[in-house]
């Protein structure tokens, strides 16, 4: 086994290579598949075996998670700032409301920055 060269991997094709064995699923519940997630050729290394179905690139994934969590935190801060700005404006403190608007814009720039770190990552 070890002296033989590894044969090239066949092209991935979901379902059976023989089309007649693939159930026609178009008619009913077209968005639901028993293999959802695993029928996707973009998933490169997963199961069977230990670690099947888990994250394959944890470093990249955790970076993306961190960006997402930071962005969500900033958005929560924005929601708070918006209520403060509305209250201040309603009480006639327009200057304070403008400070609130400035804070909201800065927060938006932070979120945009987090996104621009790597807009192509998935």
């Amino acid at each position: 086994m070890s002296d033989q060269p590894i044969p090239p991997r066949p092209d991935y094709r979901p379902g059976s290579a023989q089309p007649r064995l693939n159930r026609p699923v178009r008619e009913r519940y077209p968005q639901i598949r028993a293999t959802s997630g695993y029928g996707d050729p973009r998933i490169r290394h997963t199961g069977p075996g230990p670690g099947a179905g888990t994250e394959q690139e944890p470093e990249r994934s955790s970076k993306l998670n961190a960006r997402l969590v930071l962005a969500l935190t900033v958005v929560v801060g924005q929601l708070w700032a918006l209520t403060v700005a509305v209250n201040e404006w309603m009480e006639g403190n327009t200057g304070t409301a403008w400070w609130g608007a400035g804070f909201l814009i800065l927060s938006f720039l932070v979120v945009i920055g987090l996104w621009l770190l790597d807009p192509k990552d998935r």
Partner: protein, 219 residues
Amino acid sequence: MSVTEQPAPAPGPEPAGDEAAERLRDRISADSLTTRRDYLRIVATVSGGLAVGGVGVAAGILHRHGDSESMPEARKVTDALAPGESVAFRFPGDEDRALAVRLPDGTLVGYSAVCTHLACAVLWREDRGADGELYCPCHEGVFDARTGEVTAGPPPRPLPRIFLTEQPDGSVWAIATARSGEPAREALCRQLGDSHPEMTRQLGCPGAGRAAANQRGRT
């Protein structure tokens, strides 16, 4: 990564290649289409929306209920108001719901009747509280009848005040307004502005010129 960015899968060798490729695409698109990167994009869009909203609020897209920049025209509210009774009227504009109440001890108070929470109508309830209170039935908001401060419920700001006067014949007139939580003297100075210089002087407002600049800067 969204499906549209994928290179089209190579058609299989079988004669029905196009159909197989089509089926593969269909299968891929059956997977979750919202990835974490998409979430980041959505969050960025929401954030931008909030920023635009904040600028809009500061620029004044929201209507400040029961407010007027300059001295509103005095308006007759009612011919007579007995203790414990209330009357609804419109002040300062025709759209601004307002409420005048004579408390059981004879004090005359007026407020904007637009709840500061979600703009429901505020009602005078004499049977509630020690000496009656202003009650918003929408979410059980309660305002102190004497000051307009929030005493219970979700409203975030006190009710804007309306200044009432009583004529010798018993008729009640609305003459001026104050914003939520604005001290009476500040409100009167702001509205009197430079149209009534002698009254501003009587009230001891900051100098007429400064008051006018103040008004421009604050609004």
